[in-house]
């Protein structure tokens, strides 16, 4: 019966909700960015490194300026820098996007660890800002509206990205280059430019995610905070069947697992954290087993485009 007891303990713990919101937010920032990149046809596995450099950039910015906005700008820029490299190598020079992604992941781990050891940046954590009224909503109010204000950036970001992808010309073109780049090309769309831009959007979002980690959650640069979460963000996009809503739901579910992993031992319930860690991936695989045949993934996902190749 201890399992049921544990679940009850956990479900009644408001700490869990708050922690879920934070961890889900961390994933969601990156996942919605990855979603845009995948919509345009890039399976962007360097999202992990973009989060990492974003986290370090924010730490550096905070150290240099003592100003959250500057720190955030540094974080965004750091994420964007990696994205720029990924975008240009894979969608200008047509280098294999997995090779580039894997390499950038190695590079980011090395670079941030090295710079962190040399520079030892000092981070000023962003305090909690309780949103008046909203924070008093029962059950979820505390979790969603009594957090570091960086998390609140997510709330407008999600609808903004939806609007960008489904209601603007840019979004239409992004979807077309991810789906059928040849057709987009003859329609007069610069396929690789759109793909580069989409990767850059992912870089900005991942930079935001890393900044949130450093400035809002940890208060220092910690590579452990990222380790593997970029891949969970990718899993969230796949889990969500390449819809924005599904992606956000995926991030929330996987954030909950993450929170459980941290909360269960703290509440005195020994739990198998390893198997819990594996859950996001197993669930994503299971989802793909069920949904893959419907073929909802962008038609040209992970396929490079060059004019004349069919």
């Amino acid at each position: 019966m201890s399992g049921v007891g544990a679940l009850w303990d956990v479900a009644s713990s408001s700490i869990l909700y708050a922690s879920t919101a934070r961890l889900a937010g961390l994933l969601a920032f990156a996942a919605v960015g990855e979603w845009v990149a995948e919509k345009a046809g890039t399976l962007n596995i360097s999202i992990e490194s973009m989060m990492l450099t974003g986290a370090f950039g924010a730490a550096l910015g905070s150290d240099l300026s003592d100003n959250v906005v500057v720190a955030l700008a540094f974080g965004l820029f750091a994420g964007l820098a990696v994205a720029w490299v990924q975008a240009n190598l894979s969608h200008r020079l047509a280098a294999n996007q997995f090779v580039v992604g894997l390499t950038l992941n190695v590079l980011a781990v090395g670079l941030t660890a090295y710079l962190n050891a040399q520079l030892k940046p000092d981070v000023h954590r962003v305090g909690v800002w309780r949103v008046p009224v909203l924070a008093r909503i029962p059950l979820v109010g505390e979790a969603l509206f009594a957090q570091s204000w960086l998390l609140y950036l997510l709330y407008p970001l999600v609808p903004a990205l939806w609007w960008l992808v489904y209601r603007t010309r840019w979004g239409l073109e992004v979807r077309s280059v991810g789906e059928n780049p040849q057709a987009a090309d003859v329609s007069g769309i610069h396929v690789n430019r759109r793909r580069r831009q989409a990767v850059c959007v992912a870089g900005l979002c991942a930079g935001l995610s890393g900044s949130f980690l450093t400035l809002g959650l940890v208060g220092k640069f910690g590579a452990d905070g990222v380790s593997g979460r970029g891949f969970i963000a990718i899993a969230a996009v796949i889990f969500g069947g390449w819809t924005l809503r599904g992606t956000v739901i995926g991030a929330c579910v996987f954030g909950l697992f993450d929170a459980l992993r941290l909360a269960l031992p703290a509440l005195g319930h020994p739990v198998n954290t390893q198997l819990l860690n594996a859950l996001p991936y197993v669930m994503t695989l299971a989802t793909m087993l069920v949904l893959a045949r419907r073929g909802r993934q962008p038609g040209a996902l992970a396929r490079p485009f060059a004019r004349g190749l069919t």
Binding site: R167, T168, R169, L172, E173, R175, S176, E179, N180, Q182, A183, A184, D185, V186, S187, G188, I189, H190, G295, G299, R307, T310
Partner: protein, 531 residues
């Protein structure tokens, strides 16, 4: 004022002038100092065989290819057209065959794709509907393009093109996906946009009939050069044919290659020959029997809907039909590439295990696929390897490929089928379309097939290669192979087939002996009207 008098009267100033356009690919000159003038209010036919350079020329005009030399002037101003967007800004648009649509997007989204103007959903949707209305090209703007038929998709292409109100419109081989009736309708639209709206139209085609029927003036290209310019009123089929091919041609014997239905329909001698052939074949046992074949497509559509047909040894059965009526599915099913949801296939009386890879090949079904790059050859393997794809064991010992035997085998077939390649080791990719097709043909025929399925076997080939292919098909039939010729070109069907079936919407809607096959009757059947 726009001159709408067609070829007569004083010609209006050209809206586009191409001057000395040259494009080289290495040693080969695709376009060699081509001059071309397109005038408003005229339909200008650009006629030429495949490889004559007309596609390259049009790609240059639309900004997909950059010329090495020469200039383009639009409305008297010399311009540089760097990409399709730049072309669009100059008022130049092209109706592509079917490459520019994204299946997962809706009609209206496809229509506005590539525009630079503002993005207003409601407006875009109503515009799409309006243009459709104006030209009699109705389509639901909210339909998803992937669900449309080939003909409807082309309507979307045309709407997409016209929406930008281009002054100069290029149609690239527009009729291959259309029924004769739809083609007529298309030419009506063309006539309208030139005479009522004063636009400029270029119609690119290799079919004489079409050019004679629909244009005002004609430019003929051969080997990258312009060989003749004339008013359509002064043109005759014989003259066009000779200029296009570069030697005197017999309209009758090469009518199929030239796209002349009229020459074929009433050729009494060949009709009688075909019918005689048919009577002889009818006494043979059936070589290929397809019974109630059903193939499901995406979205639960039936690509084949209970199709049945029989082919006997020594006969050429022509399967006529407008593109997109299930021909591709049938050939894919006979290649083992698409599973049959229902129905059976027998070859020489033996049931084929349709789901096993290679089963059809083993049963003796040779295939010349419609798109040889898709399922006929491996572009990144050598010619020699491509000649043994299905039977590498022919040239292997103890599991190891014997290089000497591989090359031997290749040289023999290359000589027999006159395949031009630098060496047997040359990559398949480096061969011309005609030679690639010969490699496919050589491989399939050298396996001594019982049945040979030839799908659009001459598409994209020049007249010489077309003739070669036709001769090979006749020879195969004479040797007792049951030939199933799948073609959208009536000319090809009428010149080769001994018996004709018409496919519509995944079913056989009519079967005609050769003497019953008049263009009128076939035209009705192609549109799905039972004879």
């Amino acid at each position: 004022m726009v001159d709408t008098s067609g070829a007569g009267g004083r010609p209006p100033a050209p809206s586009v002038r191409l001057d000395g356009i040259t494009k080289r690919y290495g040693a080969v000159v695709a376009c060699d100092g081509v001059d071309l003038e397109l005038r408003p209010g005229r339909i200008h036919g650009v006629l030429g065989e495949n490889g004559a350079g007309k596609s390259t020329l049009m790609k240059i005009l639309i900004g997909l290819v950059q010329p090495d030399e020469g200039s383009i002037a639009v409305g008297g101003q010399v311009v540089r057209i760097g990409d399709p967007t730049a072309a669009g800004q100059l008022g130049i648009a092209m109706v592509h065959q079917h490459y520019s649509l994204v299946d997962t997007l809706t009609v209206w989204e496809n229509v506005v794709l590539g525009d630079r103007a503002g993005f207003d959903r409601a407006h875009a949707r109503s515009r799409a509907a309006d243009i459709g209305e104006r030209y009699g090209l109705q389509v639901d703007p909210d339909a998803v393009v992937g669900d449309l038929t080939a003909g409807q998709r082309q309507r979307v292409e045309i709407i997409k093109c016209l929406r930008r109100e281009p002054t100069i419109i290029v149609f690239d081989e527009p009729t291959s996906v259309l029924t004769p009736a739809e083609s007529e309708q298309l030419f009506g639209v063309l006539r309208r946009v030139v005479s009522e709206e004063g636009r400029t139209v270029a119609l690119v085609s290799h079919k004489l009939d079409e050019i004679l029927h629909a244009t005002d003036e004609i430019t003929i290209m051969r080997g990258g050069r312009v060989v003749e310019r004339l008013a359509t009123a002064d043109a005759t089929a014989a003259r066009l044919a000779q200029d296009m091919v570069g030697r005197p041609v017999s309209l009758r014997s090469e009518a199929a290659a030239l796209g002349l239905v009229g020459e074929l329909a009433d050729d009494a001698a060949s009709v009688e020959q075909a019918d005689a052939h048919e009577r002889a074949a009818a006494e043979q046992p059936v070589a290929l029997r397809v019974e109630g074949a059903v193939v499901m497509g995406p979205h639960g559509r039936r690509l084949l809907d209970g199709l049945s047909l029989e082919v006997r040894p020594g006969e050429i059965l022509g399967l006529a039909g407008v593109e997109g009526n299930g021909q591709r599915a049938l050939v894919d099913a006979l290649s083992g590439l698409l599973p049959l949801a229902a129905g059976t296939v027998d070859v020489a009386g033996a049931r084929v295990a349709t789901e096993r890879p290679g089963a059809f090949h083993d049963a003796g079904v040779g295939i010349i696929p419609e798109d040889r790059h898709d399922s006929g050859c491996v572009l990144d393997m050598s010619v020699a390897e491509n000649l043994v794809l299905a039977h590498p064991s022919l040239v292997a010992a103890r599991g190891l490929v014997q290089r000497a035997r591989l090359l031997d085998h290749a040289r023999r077939l290359m000589a027999e089928f006159e395949i031009q390649a630098a060496s047997p080791d040359a990559p398949m990719r480096s061969l011309s379309g005609g030679n690639q097709q010969r490699v496919v043909l050589a491989r399939e025929l050298s396996a001594d097939p019982i049945v040979l399925v030839a799908a659009q076997p001459t598409r994209g080939l020049d007249v010489g290669a077309i003739e070669y292919m036709a001769a090979q098909l006749r020879r195969a039939a004479a040797a007792g192979v049951a030939v199933l010729l799948v073609s959208t070109e009536l000319e090809e069907i009428l010149s080769l087939a001994h018996r004709i079936c018409v496919i519509f919407d995944g079913r056989i809607v009519g079967e005609l002996a050769r003497h019953e096959a008049t263009p009128e009757r076939l035209g009705l059947l192609l549109g799905g009207v039972a004879a």
